[in-house]
Symmetry: C2
């Protein structure tokens, strides 16, 4: 049974705080194993990667077969039925169109002192994208990671994807092709992250690594952070639906289950001001859980982490939502825009009952890589910005230096940084001598 | 003696690679100690913070004296001489003016399918800024961290600064006041980071922590990352100066020493196409190292990590610079803008001989918190963007869902995520029944 809370109950605050603090994922203690794998790949390069792939993926590779050849990719892609190819293409086009609007602009201006200031954006040169194998090998995630990188102007984009027993997912390779990925390696786990971060004879190192993965991949990303950039360490997925009485409870139920079916650790929460809607959604969820293909996963998620919260009004709903800081937030209410204005922390907002979260997973345009576990309080979903960096620019004229240089001299003295001050003084002296 | 390289020498590539890979900082293994401190603060709150402050800072506090009172701050600030106050105010104003231009805009549009898409920016609610005590207690760093946070709209901004033996730096408190900081706590080390991340009875938790610190602080930030957001883990500072023959070698020498005087691990590199300039700068550095207040620190940095590289032309200089990906880059060449166009990785660029890096440290306007240790390949300096986050927005109309919903249905089926597909199908069925 999911948790059932009423915001006007006496014990609500304690129960809600417990819900917020509940740990949904035990992080397996794989750090020592991961450290050893990274050290091995750094020391022995391809040889280590090949050995680890034989051990974990039961696949014998050589330096020549670590990477998919163009012909292999062509052959696998040819297997994809036309309707799936077309769907992926439309999704890719829409995702690209959305992300192209994120490209930041260079800025430059000259201020009253005569200083020319600004900044400039440049792309990361090389990025690596980790794609999980098996159950969680999602072509949509390839699009969501690779397209922002290519839109940003990343020159070299490499994918690593484990192919246990040699089984490759043709849709993943098609998504890579549609996104403009340059290299695909059949390597997974911590060894893939190590190879991307440090390079091997065959796999050149990258500057930034993104993409989801299991506990080994997450631990490896944490370890190579600093050597390369990484995206967030994603936790289990979550959805919060805020719904008023004018909704089809079946739609809401399916939206919540589409989160729950991802993972037994996923979390689906409904907040409503209508107790009858709460009951109706719960009943619809129970009904779908009889037949859903992934009912075992979705059922466990709903039973262990699901929650229904009734509130006296939508202001309370917004307030609770901001404390949850949900990854996905559906606003199925009459004036979704007005309610959205009160939302201060959320990864993605889906406005109105015609916008199921699944649209955002595939084809809406916005990225589906979003901050989980309340991290929307301080972080954003994946975007073009993750693949560019800012260089600040400054140019002083003699007049500008004369105007603001003395401030630097004073503060350098305050901070006992003599050479800092002298580097300004030497120039000002020259101006005064002229 | 610094390293002396010539880009046209046979052994150059190996020597340059060694220079790039040289480790300038041994990270002290403090992780176990830090883990214990964090656990203690989580378990015992104020009591732990007070005990640790007594042990490390020789300062007896109570929950009431953990935080500076307004009267204490007023009294300390009153000590600051007028010319320093004025300099800090000018610096604060210029830094604010620069960062106000970084505020990102919300975007929204409706596409051909009828979907309304976009994103919205909101500030982090509460941020904590760590300020080191002792030698590295820089008021300029308070401005550089606090002003972007306040420009972003951070409602609650707390500072922690250790005050060993009760010694507070009045300029740090003045910088905090000028930046609009709300709370200042006399706590340092890992215990300060733990208190900011998890909260105590007296110190409310924050969502994001920024600011420099020693090995304990860095290890603590790494550990609380995920619970809260953090800025980069900064390494020792570095400067690269690219200079042609038309320069005053004394100015270049002082610019390089202003980096070297920060820290024995700091690095100053000169690249020039003029061997005579190389010699002249080296001589000027040696001369200043006779008298500089911090000659011990600057001398060690220059001796252990300094480098002078002669190149045949400025294209080679740009190429080497991009491999170094310097934190600070001075372009003291006749056409600095042209050379800047060839720079792909750098934290901050200072154009022309009238722009000493020290201007950027204090009063230029751009932030002085910049990516070190080659991380400008994939990351940017501190900015307003570090204190805001993006929420993506999507609204479908019935027509939009009809247009793109089938793509989501197809891809959901491909990924075996039935509920995802059904959440779209249920709505499309309803439309078809109408």
């Amino acid at each position: 049974m999911p948790v059932y809370l009423n915001a006007t109950d006496a014990g609500f605050e304690a129960e809600f705080t417990a819900l917020l603090g509940a740990k949904r994922e035990e992080s397996a203690d794989v750090d020592d194993a991961v450290a050893a794998i990274i050290a091995d790949v750094r020391a022995r390069g391809d040889a280590a990667v090949i050995e680890l792939t034989a051990r974990f993926d039961r696949l014998e590779l050589t330096p020549e077969t670590l990477r998919f050849s163009r012909e292999e990719v062509d052959a696998l892609i040819a297997e994809v039925p036309a309707h799936e190819r077309e769907a992926l293409q439309i999704a890719a086009d829409r995702i690209r169109a959305y992300h192209e609007r994120q490209l930041p602009e260079d800025v430059s201006w000259t201020d009253e002192a005569g200083a020319t200031l600004g900044w400039r954006w440049t792309p990361v040169s090389a990025a690596g994208l980790y794609v999980p194998g098996g159950l969680a090998s999602y072509p949509s995630s390839v699009l969501m990671n690779a397209i922002p990188a290519k839109v940003a102007g990343v020159e070299r984009l490499a994918i690593t994807v484990p192919t246990p027993d040699g089984q490759a997912n043709p849709l993943v390779l098609l998504a890579a092709r549609l996104s403009g990925v340059d290299e695909v390696y059949r390597v997974g786990g911590a060894q893939a992250i190590a190879a991307l971060a440090y390079g091997t004879e065959t796999i050149a190192p990258v500057d930034k690594i993104t993409g989801p993965g299991n506990a080994f991949v997450a631990a490896a990303k944490r370890r190579v952070f600093g050597r390369v950039g990484i995206d967030m360490i994603a936790g289990p997925s979550e959805i919060l639906v805020i719904a008023d009485r004018d909704n089809n409870p079946d739609w809401i139920a399916l939206d919540m289950l589409s989160q729950a079916e991802h993972d037994e650790s996923a979390q689906s929460i409904l907040i409503t001001d209508d107790p009858a809607m709460a009951k109706a959604v719960e009943a619809a969820i129970d009904r779908h859980l009889q037949t859903l293909e992934r009912r075992k996963i979705a059922g466990a998620s709903w039973r262990d982490f699901g929650a229904i919260i009734t509130v006296p009004d939508m202001d309370t709903a917004a307030e609770l939502s901001n404390r949850i800081a949900p990854e996905h937030l559906e606003l199925c209410v009459s004036d979704a825009e007005a309610l959205a204005k009160k939302i201060t922390h959320a990864g993605a907002i889906f406005l109105g009952a015609w916008t199921p979260e699944a649209i955002g997973d595939y084809v809406g345009g916005p990225n589906h890589v979003l901050p989980t576990a309340r991290s929307a309080r301080f972080s954003s979903g994946l975007s073009v910005m993750d693949f560019v960096k800012r260089t600040t620019m400054a140019r002083m004229t003699p007049a500008a230096l004369r105007a603001i240089g003395p401030v630097a001299e004073t503060l350098a003295t305050s901070e006992s940084l003599e050479a800092h001050g002298l580097s300004v003084t030497a120039r000002l002296n020259h101006l005064n001598e002229q």
